[in-house]
């Protein structure tokens, strides 16, 4: 027992000290590299690696190289809290991430107590920025922002009987409930169905059959693209022609691949603008570089938002010539205005939320392409 303990301790110490060696400005990345959301985390790392390379090619920051230190949060709160502790001990200037709201929340206090700026990229739950944490920011908009756009779109389309379907995840349920709250009591609009599916299953025909029986003329699905694609495909297989709209988690080319072009055509979704639809130089250059390096454009919008987090924070370091969290936080909240991001202009309010109408409505055309709705 003692011997084993001793070896373990020795190992611990060895690994722990090995972390203190290099000199560059370190930016942490916390993302789900394993587990159910591994595809998001691995792409987040790709985006940051690319941006970091580009930055170093331009000379880095304050005359030093920049390095990305990434840790796996496994998509679960306990692993994430350990990942956060580990990053906090590695002398990082700021951390980007992570994806899920509950996972981010488990790490917020750790970074806050360690005085490390955290820029989340996929955590849209409202309460994350309502706690008055000084060093917390996010490049993704909040659920209530998205719900507003969703409600407006649904009204504009003249929907009379609406079905709302979520997947019981923090994000999807939050969005569904916000939208329901905004639309309840509107004249001429009735919510005829509100329920949750179980994510990561493959057969949703039971749910579709039940939903169809409720007779909606429009369905708002707030979950993720994997389930979204299957819903579209299975709805077509059962000869049900009802328009679907998804939240920003359905924004992924894999949705079309899963559903098939015919089934995906006509699908609406909300999303921050895709890099291809932004007229800016930055977005175009990024898209070209990413495609060149990895062979395909980014699949999900969240890794791109992580890229924006990286660009914002490195910009702030360059401008303030410092990695002092106080200065950086102050700069981001008060001085950074309309920063040209990969997903549009970026400014933050006092809570650390991104300002501005970020969401746009997209529709899938017959070719399976994502077309920005006017």
């Amino acid at each position: 027992m003692k011997k084993v303990l001793f070896i373990l301790v020795a190992l611990f110490v060895a690994t722990a000290t090995a972390a203190f060696a290099a000199d560059p400005v370190k930016i942490g990345l916390m993302g789900p590299m394993t587990g159910s959301w591994a595809s998001e985390g691995q792409e987040m790392k790709q985006v940051l690696d690319l941006l970091c390379e580009e930055l170093n090619a331009k000379g880095g920051l304050m005359g030093q190289k920049v390095a990305v230190v990434s840790e796996d949060d496994g998509g679960d709160p306990r692993t994430a809290s350990l990942a956060a502790q580990r990053l906090a001990t590695q002398g990082i200037a700021a951390v980007i991430g992570t994806y899920g709201s509950a996972v981010t929340e488990a790490t917020q206090n750790i970074y806050n107590e360690a005085k490390i700026i955290q820029v989340a990229n996929g955590s849209t739950a409202i309460r994350l920025t309502e706690k008055g944490l000084k060093y917390f920011f996010r490049t993704c908009p909040r659920d209530d922002e998205q719900a507003k756009v969703a409600a407006a779109t649904i009204e504009k389309l003249g929907v009379k009987k609406l079905a709302i379907l979520h997947d019981n995840s923090t994000y999807a349920k939050g969005l569904a409930e916000e939208a329901k709250g905004l639309l309840a009591g509107k004249k001429g609009l009735e919510i005829v169905f509100f329920d949750a599916l179980t994510p990561k299953e493959q057969d949703y025909t039971a749910i579709l059959t039940k939903m169809k029986a409720a007779g909606p003329d429009f369905v708002f699905f707030t979950g993720y693209y994997g389930e979204g694609g299957l819903l579209l495909k299975q709805k077509r297989q059962m000869n049900w022609n009802v328009p679907f709209m998804g939240g920003d988690a359905t924004n992924n080319p894999d949705l079309v691949k899963i559903a098939g072009k015919e089934a995906a055509a006509g699908f609406y979704f909300l999303s921050p603008p895709l890099p291809k639809d932004l007229p800016t130089q930055e977005a175009k250059a990024f898209l070209a570089a990413f495609t060149k390096k990895y062979g395909n454009p980014p699949n999900s919008i969240y890794p791109v938002l992580a890229g924006d987090g990286f660009r914002v924070i490195t910009h702030a370091i360059a401008e303030t010539k410092s990695t002092d969290p106080e200065k950086l936080a102050k700069y981001l909240k008060t001085e950074l205005k309309e920063f040209p991001g990969l997903t549009g202009k970026i400014s933050f309010n006092d809570k650390g939320d991104r300002i501005g109408e970020v969401y746009k409505v997209y529709k899938v055309n017959a070719e399976g392409q994502f077309i920005l709705e006017p």
């Binding site: 990561k200 299953e201 059959t209």
Partner: protein
């Protein structure tokens, strides 16, 4: 009423897949009394290997959708059977003489290993089967819109189960498997090569799981490396429901579980669907402690 029949066909199709996977659990359990937690990942692997073979060899283009798929199914079965036998050799055979639960932990380790192997080889993103191999239309039967694929899945799983049933009941090897499941020691005394039986079980069970994976890939079109957990848990539940170790029990349990789920989702709540299924399972086990078709085992004295 229309809702009821539609949900019934939903449940039957899903149940058929559960049953195919459940057979793998129950066969291994019957002979070794081991819950092979890695079985669910063999199922995933079947789906992935099927995709690779399908896209790399263009079988359906050369042989037409029907014969192409049949050949594909046999290739997947063969490959997964080999993986299954290897798994047994590496992770379970060294633990034959040790406490039963040690092998369970080894199985859990194997499950983690296989799942992450798939992730590292194929990537973490969803993989998508090519469209249009199975017809994507619905046919009208007595006023109900029933997707063609659902009928195909239902027929295939029934066919596979019948084949297995025949193999177990009528062939010599099948009889040996049944004998070893009842009493290994006695089977050995009767001149049955128990090691061969175990090998057989680890070939046939995974093969069925692999073909179920292929079926899921063809039916739903979308596969991912974590899908095994959900299916595995359900299939294991189905095997227990029917009485673990009992082959017809796994079939009945799988179909029944699929139908219970569909009905629970239809008439109670979708969000509570899995909880409802587990509640029914627990109730059944309270009244029939060894499952629906499980034999009453007298306590050894």
């Amino acid at each position: 009423m229309e809702q009821f029949f539609l949900q019934l066909t939903n449940g039957l199709a899903v149940g058929g897949i559960y049953a195919l996977i459940a057979l793998g659990y129950t066969m291994v359990y019957g002979v070794l009394k081991l819950i092979n937690f890695a079985h669910s990942d063999l199922f995933t692997l079947g789906a992935y290997l099927g995709l690779t073979l399908l896209t790399s060899m263009a079988l359906t283009d050369r042989l037409g959708p029907f014969w192409g798929t049949v050949l594909l199914a046999f290739m997947v079965m063969l490959l997964i059977a080999i993986v299954g036998a290897l798994l047994d050799r590496v992770a379970y055979r060294p633990l034959r003489q040790s406490p039963r639960l040690s092998a369970v932990v080894s199985a859990l380790g194997a499950s983690i290993f296989l799942q992450n192997t798939v992730m590292l080889v194929y990537g973490a993103r969803f993989q998508v089967y090519p469209q249009g191999i199975l017809p994507s239309t619905a046919i009208r039967v007595m006023g109900l819109d029933i997707p063609m694929v659902r009928l195909i899945v239902l027929c295939t799983s029934t066919l596979m189960m019948l084949a297995l049933f025949f193999f177990i009941q009528k062939t010599k090897t099948g009889t040996a498997i049944r004998a070893a499941a009842i009493d290994q020691g006695a089977a050995r005394l009767m001149g049955i090569d128990v090691n061969r039986v175990i090998l057989m079980v680890f070939l046939v069970g995974p093969a069925l799981g692999g073909v179920a994976g292929l079926l899921v890939g063809l039916y739903y079109g979308q596969i991912n490396f974590t899908m095994g957990w959900g299916y595995g848990l359900k299939a294991f539940t189905a095997a227990i429901l029917g009485g673990i170790g009992n082959i017809p029990g796994a079939m009945v349990g799988g179909i029944l579980l699929g139908v219970i789920e569909a009905m629970g989702a239809a008439y109670l709540s979708i969000a509570w669907k899995d909880a409802i299924a587990f509640c029914v399972l627990i109730l059944i086990l309270i009244f029939r402690p060894t499952g629906l078709l499980g034999e009453r085992v007298a306590e050894k004295v």
